[in-house]
C-alpha cells in the first residue's frame, strides 16, 4: 500500500513539476510569433510554406530540433544551408549584388550587419517587430544595441560570446602552489583583478617540461596563458586591453595615444607565456589544447568552459574556475573591465528573400526568452547564455553550472561591441596585421599604432568620413561600447 501511495505521490509531484515547467515556459513573444506566422500562411493561402536560412555551421546539429518544433507549431518548414562562419559574410555581400533570394534569413556574427545594412541586403525589422512585439527584456546593453544599426532594428541576437578568462582550479587550489605564489608576489591566488595580474600569474605558472613544482612532475610543459592571437581573431581580444573607444568623436583613431601604445604592449607581452605557435591557432587548436591540461589559464569564448567539461578526452573536467574578464589599466584613471562580444550569432532577414515576414516570425520565436533558453541549454548547441532569463533556466544550469553562469552574467555587464560600423572587417584586419607584426618583433608598438591609425583613416575616407562619423556617434550614444565620448 505504501508503495502504491508513494508511486501516486511521485506521479502527482512529477506532473505538477512538469506543469510548472510548461507554465514557466509561457512566453507571449514566442506565442505571438507562432500565431502571426500561422495567420500569414492562412491569409496568403500558402501551400507547404518553406523558408531558407544560411546557417552558421556551428549550429547544424542543434537547430534541427527547433526547426521540427517550429514546423509542428506552424506547419512552416525551415531549410538550412550550413556554412563555415568565415565564408558567411562574403555570401551575404554576394547576395547584395546577385539578389537571388535563395535565402530568407542569414545567421551570422553581428559585425556583418553594418555592411549588409548599407548594401540594403538585410531588411529593417521595425515594421515586423511592431506587429510581433518581440521580447528584449533582460538583454544587456551592448547586445541590445547590436541589434540596431543606424537607428533601425536589423538583427536579433541569441548568443553571448563575450570573452572571459578560465583558470585551472586544481592548480589554483593546490596549497603548495598557493603558498609559493603568495610568498613570491604577496598576493592571494584566484581570478586576477587586472591584465597585469593575469600576466603575473601566467609568468609564475609557466613551467618547462621535466620540471617538478609544488609536488607535481610536469612531463609536458605547462603554459602560463592561452588566448587567441591569430589573424582574424586578435582584434576580438584587443578591447579587453584597450578599455575604451577606438576613435574620438570625429573618428580620429585613438590607437596612437598613450592608452593605445600601452594596450598594444600588454597584448603582445603575455604571448611569451603562450604556446609558441599560438599565432597560427584558432578554436580547433585552442579548445583541445586547453582540454589536454597543458595550460594554466585561457582567455576565450565562454563555450570553452562547457567544452572542457563535456569533451570525453578533456583532462580538466571539473578543474576549471570561470573568471570575469580582468581589468585593463591602459586608460588613465581606474582600471576598467571590457569583455568584447567577440563573436556571438544573430539572425537577419534577407531583403531579397521570398518570405521575409515568415523569416522574421521564425527569428522572433527562436530568439524569444523561452525558446532561446532552451536553445542555449541544448547539449549539441554552441549558443552561450547572455540574458537574465537564462540564469534560472534548469537546462542551462545543468549544462553550464551555477559557477560559470554567475561569472558569465557578471561578465555580460562589461560586454562591449567590437567596431560596429561599415568596413568592420577591413578596420579589424588592419589591427590584426599590425598586432601580428608587434608579436613577431617586426614592429614596435609605437610604429604599429602609427600604421594602424593610417590604415583606419584610409578605410574611413574610402567609405565616407561624414557617414562613418554619424553612425559611430550614434552607436556610442546607443550604448554599443559601454564607454562614452
Amino acid at each position: 500500500m505504501k508503495k502504491i501511495l508513494l508511486s501516486i505521490s511521485i506521479i502527482v509531484f512529477g506532473y505538477s513539476l512538469n506543469a510548472t515547467a510548461v507554465q514557466a515556459e509561457s512566453d507571449p513573444a514566442a506565442d505571438r510569433a507562432v500565431n502571426l506566422a500561422k495567420q500569414f500562411v492562412k491569409d496568403n493561402n500558402m501551400k507547404n510554406p518553406k523558408i531558407n536560412m544560411l546557417l552558421n555551421s556551428l549550429f547544424r546539429n542543434a537547430i534541427p530540433d527547433f526547426i521540427a518544433e517550429w514546423k509542428g507549431l506552424t506547419g512552416i518548414d525551415v531549410h538550412t544551408e550550413p556554412l563555415g562562419y568565415t565564408d558567411i559574410p562574403s555570401k551575404i555581400m554576394g547576395e547584395a549584388v546577385a539578389k537571388t533570394g535563395a535565402f530568407d534569413m542569414f545567421n551570422d556574427f553581428p559585425y556583418t550587419a553594418p555592411d549588409a545594412a548599407g548594401a540594403q541586403v538585410i531588411l529593417p525589422l521595425d515594421d515586423f517587430a511592431a506587429k510581433g512585439k518581440p521580447d528584449f527584456t533582460g538583454i544587456p546593453g551592448a547586445f541590445l544595441a547590436q541589434q540596431r544599426y543606424n537607428g533601425k532594428l536589423y538583427s536579433m541576437v541569441l548568443d553571448g560570446d563575450h570573452i572571459m578568462l578560465v583558470l585551472r582550479k586544481d592548480i589554483v587550489e593546490n596549497p603548495k602552489a598557493r603558498a609559493a605564489f603568495k610568498s613570491k608576489t604577496g598576493k592571494d591566488l584566484g581570478c586576477p583583478a587586472t591584465m597585469a595580474d593575469w600576466e603575473e600569474q601566467a609568468k609564475f605558472f609557466h613551467t618547462k617540461a621535466g620540471q617538478t613544482r609544488w609536488g607535481i612532475k610536469f612531463e609536458k610543459p605547462l603554459y602560463g596563458a592561452m588566448a587567441y592571437r591569430s589573424v582574424n581573431f586578435s582584434h576580438r581580444h584587443f578591447p579587453a586591453y584597450f578599455g575604451g573607444l577606438l576613435f574620438d568623436k570625429d573618428m580620429k583613431p585613438r590607437i596612437s595615444t598613450k592608452q593605445g601604445i600601452k594596450a598594444i604592449k600588454a597584448f603582445a607581452s603575455v604571448v611569451k607565456y603562450m604556446p609558441e605557435d599560438i599565432q597560427g591557432w584558432g578554436t580547433p587548436q585552442i579548445y583541445p589544447f586547453w582540454g589536454s591540461g597543458q595550460a594554466y589559464s585561457v582567455m576565450s569564448f565562454p563555450s570553452i568552459f562547457g567544452y572542457a567539461n563535456s569533451n570525453p578526452k578533456s583532462t580538466v573536467k571539473g578543474k576549471q574556475i570561470p573568471c570575469v574578464i580582468p581589468a585593463t589599466t591602459a586608460p588613465d584613471g581606474p582600471p576598467v573591465r571590457r569583455a568584447a562580444e567577440a563573436a556571438g550569432t544573430s539572425y537577419m532577414v534577407n531583403a531579397h528573400g521570398k518570405n521575409p515576414e515568415l523569416a522574421y516570425y521564425f527569428i522572433q520565436w527562436l530568439t524569444s526568452p523561452s525558446v532561446g533558453s532552451r536553445a542555449i541549454a541544448h547539449p549539441k548547441g554552441f549558443w552561450d547564455p547572455y540574458r537574465t532569463q537564462n540564469i534560472g533556466h534548469p537546462g542551462i544550469l545543468k549544462k553550464f553550472g551555477p559557477e560559470f553562469l554567475k561569472a558569465t552574467m557578471e561578465n555580460a555587464k562589461y560586454t562591449t561591441s567590437l567596431l560596429y560600423i561599415e568596413g568592420h572587417y577591413e578596420y579589424m584586419k588592419v589591427l590584426d596585421n599590425n598586432l601580428a607584426d608587434v608579436m613577431n618583433n617586426n614592429l614596435t608598438a609605437e610604429k604599429a599604432a602609427a600604421k594602424i591609425e593610417k590604415g583606419w583613416n584610409r578605410v574611413t575616407e574610402d567609405i565616407g568620413r561624414d557617414y562613418q562619423i554619424k553612425v559611430w556617434r550614434k552607436g556610442v550614444n546607443d550604448g554599443l561600447y559601454v564607454d562614452k565620448f
Binding site: 547584395a96 549584388v97 582574424n232 605557435d277 584586419k429 596585421n433 601580428a436
Partner: protein, 323 residues
C-alpha cells in the same frame, strides 16, 4: 511495340522544320555553326565579364552600398591600388613563392623522372605513387598539411634529430613564424605540384630518341657527357613547358594560403591572389578589386607572352630539328 519511328521523311513533311533543316545544311551556313557556338561562349564567359570588370574598375563603389549608387570616378581606383604598399608586397611575395616553388619542383621532378625512367621493375608503381599528390583535392591537401605543420606535429617530430643536432629549437612554428609560414606554403605547393613536373619530364625522357644516345655512346661519350650534351638539350622543350605551365599556375597560388595561414601571421603569406580575394570578398571593395585585377592581368599577360614566345621558339627549333 506499335511505336512509330520518326523518320527524316516525317520531319520533312513539317514545313518549318524542313526549311530550317535545309537552311542549316547549306555549306555556307553549316560551317559557321561551330564558330558561332564557340564565339558565343567566349563572349558570354570571357568578353562580357571582362568588359564589366573594366567598367567596374572605373566606378566608385564598395558592395556595402547598392550598385545603383555607384558612379564613374576616373582612375581613382588604379591610383589607390598603385599607391597601396600591400599590393606591391603581395606581388613581390607571389614571385618569391612562385619562383622558389617552381625551381624546386623542376629540380625534384626532373630527378624523380630521370630515376623512374631508368627503372625497369615496378616502374608503373612508382609513376602511380608520384602522381598521387596531383590528384589530391587541394582542400584535403591543405587540411593534411595544417595537421602536419602543428607545433607538436609529425614534421617537427621527424626533424627533431636534425634540429637538435644543429641546436635549433625543435618546435619550429611552421604556421606562426613569418619565415617558416612562407616556407610551409612553398613546401605544400611543392608536395602537390612536383607530380606535374615529374609527369612532363617523364614524357620528355620517354620521347628521347634512343638512336642518338646509342650513337653518342658508340662514339665513346661517358654517361655524364651523354646526359649533358645529348639528353639535356633534347629535354629543353619539356623543361620550357614545365616552367611555363607551373609558373602560370604558381602565380595564382591561393589554396594553401587560405587553408593554412589565411595570409598570416600578419601579411607574411599574402600573395596577390589572396590580396585580391580579401579586397573583394572580405572588404567588399569590388571596384578597387577590379582595378587591381586589371593591373595584375596586364603584368601577368606580359609574362605569359614571354612564356608563349619561348614555347613557340622551342616548337620551331624542334620542327627544324635543331634539338
Amino acid at each position: 511495340m506499335n511505336e512509330r519511328v520518326t523518320t527524316v521523311a516525317d520531319l520533312r513533311k513539317d514545313g518549318i522544320t524542313a526549311r530550317f533543316s535545309a537552311w542549316l545544311s547549306q555549306e555556307r551556313i553549316f560551317r559557321w555553326i561551330p564558330f558561332v557556338m564557340v564565339e558565343g561562349m567566349i563572349i558570354c564567359v570571357l568578353i562580357i565579364p571582362f568588359i564589366l570588370t573594366i567598367y567596374i574598375s572605373f566606378l566608385r563603389w564598395r558592395a556595402n552600398r547598392p550598385f545603383e549608387q555607384a558612379y564613374l570616378d576616373g582612375f581613382r581606383n588604379y591610383e589607390a591600388v598603385l599607391s597601396d604598399p600591400g599590393f606591391w608586397l603581395s606581388l613581390g611575395r607571389t614571385f618569391y613563392f612562385a619562383g622558389s616553388a617552381v625551381i624546386l619542383e623542376l629540380i625534384i621532378g626532373f630527378i624523380l623522372a630521370m630515376l623512374v625512367h631508368r627503372i625497369v621493375a615496378g616502374r608503373r608503381i612508382y609513376i602511380t605513387i608520384f602522381l598521387i599528390p596531383m590528384m589530391v583535392v587541394p582542400v584535403v591537401a591543405g587540411y593534411n598539411f595544417s595537421m602536419i605543420y602543428l607545433d607538436s606535429g609529425p614534421l617537427n617530430e621527424l626533424l627533431w634529430p636534425l634540429t637538435s643536432l644543429l641546436g635549433i629549437n625543435p618546435r619550429i612554428r611552421w604556421l606562426s613564424n613569418p619565415l617558416a609560414a612562407q616556407w610551409a606554403i612553398i613546401l605544400a605547393d611543392i608536395w602537390q605540384w612536383t607530380s606535374l613536373t615529374f609527369l612532363i619530364f617523364l614524357s620528355g625522357f620517354s620521347a628521347l630518341p634512343p638512336q642518338l644516345i646509342n650513337a653518342a655512346r658508340i662514339m665513346g661519350a661517358s654517361r655524364a657527357q651523354v646526359f649533358l650534351w645529348v639528353e639535356l638539350p633534347l629535354l629543353k622543350p619539356a623543361i620550357v613547358i614545365a616552367i611555363v605551365i607551373r609558373s602560370m599556375e604558381a602565380l595564382k597560388m591561393f589554396d594553401p594560403i587560405i587553408l593554412l595561414t589565411y595570409g598570416g601571421p600578419g601579411t607574411s603569406t599574402q600573395t596577390i591572389a589572396y590580396y585580391l580575394w580579401e579586397q573583394v570578398w572580405q572588404f567588399n571593395k569590388f571596384a578597387y578589386g577590379a582595378a587591381a585585377s586589371i593591373l595584375v592581368l596586364i603584368l601577368f599577360s606580359v609574362l605569359i607572352f614571354v612564356g608563349i614566345y619561348l614555347l613557340g621558339r622551342q616548337s620551331e627549333a624542334v620542327e627544324r630539328g635543331e634539338v
